[in-house]
């Protein structure tokens, strides 16, 4: 039996760095119920100043409810919301300084682009010269020059999106709330707007709270991600942490694809645990909590290499299996490989480099550093 050591914390994200910056937006034990169902269930989060924080979760998980509670459209049943150390959950929605960008943009259809953007400034009774200057500045900032006189109905989806963004940014909100703002755009534009939004946020250094159900969007844009399920925060961390150190099976399967296999813990010496996996003895960082002698081993499909031959170097785990299915997805070739009872998903990058797809008996090679243990619930 080979003995291999996995996971070096220094090489990955830095979980201990979380929340070292001062909290800017602070949610404390927030609860929001609709009748008997708790849409938001005891959520506590510290969102650092100037960060891009994403609330990620499947539809109906309560992420939008949470965002709308922050905005003041819903009244929390319990808990408190602080913004810059000021308690804001007692304030009416229009006094919170939390501008929001809506999924359907919610542009005012009877106002021109200029008037849409100027609306918040007019409410704040900003002088006309100052108002014009700020609107033009923002128009330029989001790249809407020349469209000021148009009506919202005359704009494309991407342009409407920019107007919605400009309208919210121009009032210099203390925090900008975004509710799936990209979900109505087509795939290419969505991709481009991701980068625009992210770079915009970094240039302005405004705290963003962003709601999405799209994991790749969350990973690509965020400083911090809170994964939400049934109104609860399942995990809070940076994208790296969320992707490579999922704490539960839900987390592993919701964000990306994952291979999960129960393994036996033979030795537990925090911070490490030794598990037996096929013919290998792996020393891996111990999972938090869970039963003492069982854990789930988690490997991402792209962390496994598929090969016609076993690994010669002995630095990798090397397991023989049989290809049962395969699918060509363009940028990758996805294989389903049967190893004993379990079926593994393996992604081969750049499939074009290998004109002859694998078939029959193959070997799966994986670096123990890419393997991760998830606690088996008691």
């Amino acid at each position: 039996m080979s003995k291999l050591t996995g996971e070096n914390p220094e090489a990955t994200g830095l979980p201990e760095a979380i929340n070292l910056q001062p909290a800017h937006l602070r949610l404390e034990h927030l609860v929001k119920s609709f009748g008997p169902t708790k849409a938001v269930d005891d959520v506590t989060l510290d969102i650092p100043k100037g960060s891009f924080a994403t609330l990620l979760g499947p539809s109906g998980c309560g992420k939008t409810t949470l965002l709308r509670t922050i905005a003041g459209f819903y009244e929390p049943n319990e808990g408190a919301i602080y913004l810059e150390d000021q308690r804001i959950d007692h304030l009416p929605a229009h006094r919170r300084g939390t501008a929001m960008v809506f999924q359907d943009y919610a542009l005012f259809p009877h106002m021109s682009v200029f008037d849409n953007i100027a609306y918040g400034l007019r409410l704040a009774k900003v002088q006309r010269a100052e108002l014009n200057r700020r609107v033009h500045e923002t128009v330029e900032f989001v790249g809407l020059q020349g469209l000021e006189k148009r009506w919202p109905s005359q704009l494309s989806g991407g342009q409407q999106q920019r107007v919605a963004l400009a309208r919210a940014l121009v009032v210099q909100p203390r925090v900008l709330l975004l509710d799936e703002p990209l979900s109505n755009l087509d795939a290419n534009l969505r991709e481009r707007m991701r980068w625009e939004l992210r770079s915009l946020q970094q240039r302005l250094n405004i705290t963003f709270v962003y709601v999405t159900h799209d994991q790749s969007e969350a990973l690509a844009m965020s400083d911090w991600i809170a994964v939400i399920k049934d109104g609860r925060v399942m995990q809070w961390g940076d994208p790296w942490e969320i992707y490579y150190h999922p704490r539960t099976t839900f987390m592993a399967e919701f964000v990306g694809a994952a291979n999960l296999e129960p393994v036996k813990i033979v030795d537990r010496h925090p911070p490490t645990a030794t598990v037996i996996w096929h013919d290998y003895r792996l020393e891996l960082p111990a999972p938090e909590g869970g039963t003492a002698d069982q854990a789930l081993l988690c490997i991402r499909p792209e962390s496994i290499t598929i090969s016609a031959k076993p690994d010669a170097s002995a630095r990798h785990v090397s397991l023989p299996g049989t290809v049962t299915r395969k699918a060509f997805l363009g940028h990758i070739m996805r294989y389903w490989v049967q190893i004993g009872e379990a079926e593994w998903i393996v992604d081969e990058s750049d499939p074009g480099a290998n004109p002859q797809p694998f078939d029959g008996t193959v070997y799966l090679l994986c670096d123990p550093h890419r393997v991760h243990l998830i606690a088996q619930p008691m």
């Binding site: 009244e75 929605a93 919610a106 009877h110 609306y119 918040g120 309208r167 709330l177």
Partner: protein, 539 residues
């Protein structure tokens, strides 16, 4: 609730609206119900003189509703489903009766079929007695089938053509589609349209007053008790019976409307055409519509002829002298215009604000206020009028101009139409639009003013137009409220008919309809030429 206490202005606005509603909708109605007192009710019920009118009312309601709904359905089906020629013309003709007091049909009927009528006497040499149930049945059928048509057309138009296309696609023939898809989908809507038509007919006061003769129905009995005997107690008891009947029908309608949301698929009209109907059906539809519009044109044509001839139908000499009555009674025409415009405007403003508070805000008692706002639709005009008379014709209110009282009664009697239009309009506007304004720093009322109010212009003007038409055409509500200086056009027509001054009455009717069309034309122009009337208190 907390949002209301956090925005004091909003809470205050709500309080005012609710207080007005309690004073002008609930209070007068409770007054009527309480007026007879327990003893009064006992005496009244023991006396038994209400039994015959009740039976008569129900009989007339069942007969007239049945025929009006059948004709209305045929007309609506022809308009929505067939591709017959002349639809715009038929649509216009179908609108015409909504613009005049329903009881002018009775006047026209007497001119045509009465003892000295054009057809009965002049053509056939007969001198029929047209008063009674038969005449009433015929007149109410003609007067109310256009209402039934509007209600049913609305239901049919909202059914999704895709369902019918799908059924055709699966191999169903036209008749099968109608029987298995169209009708079941429309059934709850149809039933609720029938109930609303029944309420209209049950409450009808003008037609039975002119043509029913000794066939007394509840509204005419209530009026007779007051005008003949000054018996407010008896009138209150009679109209309470009427109210109970109407409320039962209305609650049935509300129930059906609740269930309707399951079947009608979307509020938006789909652009997909309906499957074609066979040629035979198209031509049948055309024939029916042609006959029915012929009848409507005849009814109004007779009015115009009578207005322009010396003594229709005996003397056909052209004259304009009847229009002198318009000048003589110009006060009532002016009152109708002024009261109508004022009441309709205030009513639509009140309704749109109330609809906003009910639909967009949460507060305890919201459901009750929502119900109170649509309840006047079930309140018979005669009951509403007696309510205002008992509650507000008081010594301590003597300083109040009676015109103001009429305006207030018209505002609150018409709230259901304007409120429904505003609710429907609001439902079309996603709440994220006003939330966007809020998140940019607008208080609820400011957001309402800047964003929702301009966007609701169309439903508001629809409510305004309908409320105005209802003021112009109502007789029963105001018959207990008018004074010589605050008389209204419908009252004048009614009095002229009762004096058998046919020339004056018809000339005046023509003038009233002309005024209504002019006002609606102005509104139509302002709205950018969109629909300006909802034809129903229900739809």
């Amino acid at each position: 609730m907390k949002t209301l206490t956090r925005e004091p202005m909003l809470g205050l606005t709500l309080l005012i609206l609710v207080a007005l509603m309690f004073s002008f909708i609930l209070y007068p109605q409770i007054q009527v119900v309480l007026v007879p007192g327990l003893k009064g009710y006992f005496a009244f019920f023991a006396e038994g003189m209400w039994v015959k009118p009740l039976v008569n009312s129900l009989e007339a309601m069942v007969l007239s509703t049945t025929t009006a709904v059948i004709l209305g359905f045929l007309y609506a089906y022809a308009m929505i489903y067939s591709d017959m020629p002349g639809k715009p013309f038929f649509r216009l003709i179908g609108m015409l009766p909504l613009l005049s007091p329903p009881f002018v049909v009775a006047a026209s009927y007497i001119l045509l079929f009465g003892p000295r009528g054009l057809i009965s006497y002049r053509l056939l040499g007969q001198s029929w007695n047209v008063l009674g149930l038969g005449g009433l049945w015929g007149v109410q059928t003609i007067a109310y089938f256009p209402f039934a048509y509007q209600l049913i057309a609305d239901v049919l138009a909202r059914s999704d053509p895709r369902m019918e296309q799908a059924a055709r696609n699966l191999g169903a023939g036209p008749w099968q589609v109608f029987r298995t898809v169209t009708l079941p989908l429309a059934r709850p809507g149809l039933a609720s349209a029938i109930l609303i038509t029944a309420i209209y007919i049950l409450e009808d006061f003008g037609n039975p007053a002119l043509i029913a003769g000794r066939f007394t129905v509840l509204p005419t009995q209530a009026y007779g008790l007051v005008s003949g005997f000054g018996d407010f107690v008896g009138a209150a008891a009679v109209s309470t019976i009427l109210l109970v009947l109407a409320l039962v029908l209305y609650l049935g309608h509300l129930r059906l409307e609740g269930s309707r949301s399951f079947v009608t698929v979307s509020g938006k009209a789909s652009s997909m055409p309906r499957p074609p109907v066979p040629r035979l059906v198209t031509w049948g539809a055309f024939t029916i519509c042609a006959i029915l519009s012929g009848v409507i044109l005849m009814v109004y044509g007779v009015l115009v002829l009578s207005a322009l001839t010396k003594a229709f139908p005996a003397n056909w000499t052209f004259t304009l002298e009847h229009f002198d009555y318009v000048r003589v009674h110009s006060l009532s025409l002016r009152n109708t215009l002024v009261y109508g415009c004022t009441a309709a405007t205030l009513c639509s403003l009140y309704s749109v604000l109330l609809a906003f508070l009910v639909q967009r805000k949460e507060w305890p008692g919201r459901r009750i206020i929502d119900f109170l706002a649509i309840m006047p639709a079930a309140v018979p005009g005669i009951f509403f009028g007696i309510g205002y008379a008992t509650a507000f014709n008081q010594r301590w209110l003597d300083w109040l101009d009676r015109g103001v009282l009429i305006i207030i009664s018209m505002i609150f009697w018409n709230i259901p139409v304007a409120y429904r239009a505003a609710m429907a309009g609001l439902a079309q506007i996603d709440s994220s639009i006003d939330e966007a304004a809020t998140s940019l720093g607008a208080s609820s009322l400011r957001g309402f003013r800047d964003i929702l109010f301009p966007l609701l212009r169309e439903p508001m003007l629809t409510g305004l137009g309908t409320a105005f038409v209802r003021v112009v055409t109502t007789l029963s509500v105001v018959i207990f409220l008018f004074t010589p200086s605050t008389t209204l056009a419908t009252i004048t027509i009614f009095q002229l008919v009762n004096d058998f001054n046919w020339g004056g009455a018809t000339a005046f009717t023509v003038a009233v309809i002309g005024m209504a069309i002019a006002v609606l034309g102005v509104i139509w122009f302002i709205t950018g030429r969109r629909a300006i009337m909802t034809h129903s208190i229900g739809g």
